[in-house]
Amino acid sequence: MWLTSKIKQLLMAAKPGVVTLKYPFEPRPVPENFRGAPHWDHTKCVGCAGCAEHCPARTIMVRDLCQEIRVLLYDGSRCTYCGRCADVCPEKAITMTGRFEQATDDPNDVTETLELFMLTCQRCGRCYDMETRNAIDKLGLTGYRYDSLEARTVLRRATDTFRPAELGKTERYERPASTGE
């Protein structure tokens, strides 16, 4: 009697076959519309910092080194991949990639740093956005003034144009992902 039940069990187990995925040894594609780690396209980003304003976990930090350099630091360690940054981006510079293999022993590995060039008006020295604000609001705005004297020396004085050749040189300025240890 017990033998027939065992045979029955074996048949039941053999019916679906082996379902275990060979995952770490074989790649496993993500489904469509999967939200993995966000990725910034620095050629499209205008530095409005809307993503930093809307991030629920406040993973994106903005710092103005001087009037023309704005640094965006994305700290992915507490990112919940909600995709709100990609939603609010006016230039569609943020894409939610399918990267999910973010396991690491150092939380600095999931960061992303952007150095943005904030083009300023040569006459008034302010950025081209924030046209809806009045003059008093602009005066109180942090980051659109000379924040420190040390950073002020970095400023360019000449009326240089935004040369496309120079931009093309640094188009894919990205550190290659290191493999292994």
Partner: protein, 176 residues
Amino acid sequence: MLAKLAKKCFPRSLWVYHCNSGACNGCDIEILNILTPYYDVERFGIRLVGSPRHADVMLLSGAVTRPTLPLVKKAWAAMPAPKLVFGIGSCATGGGCWFDTYNVTGGGAAAVPVNYYIPGCPPRPEAIVYGVALALGLVDKKAAPVELKQVEFPIDMYERNKAWEERNVIYEVLNS
């Protein structure tokens, strides 16, 4: 280096202890998911045990809340050395949305030394399997910090300093 050390310290099976420190059960369900036949982690010899005294690895999920902080520390102290701690989910990695809330210590690293971080909200079961395989040295690390720049700046301060130095060189040559 940590992977090599883990391979040396844990040559056989890893027995994991699942420690929920105020998680929303999202990560916990994913941890249970990797124990199912679909993502069978017993391939790597991983077993879930009920007591930290039997465990080699603590799977820490959830931002460590203030009531659970002493309990997490106690559970960590009860584990026999050598021990590893996996922070699973965004909460255990960096505190999640609640990283600066009054009732949260801000991630597992504030309570116990976390060896491996697996971000995600919740992480896919594959991501947890990948993290475990990373600790066992089966796969390579893929995450790396990314630095992006729009333009290389011609820093005229540098150029000015250089010009100033070159100007002084003439005086040095004249004086010598």
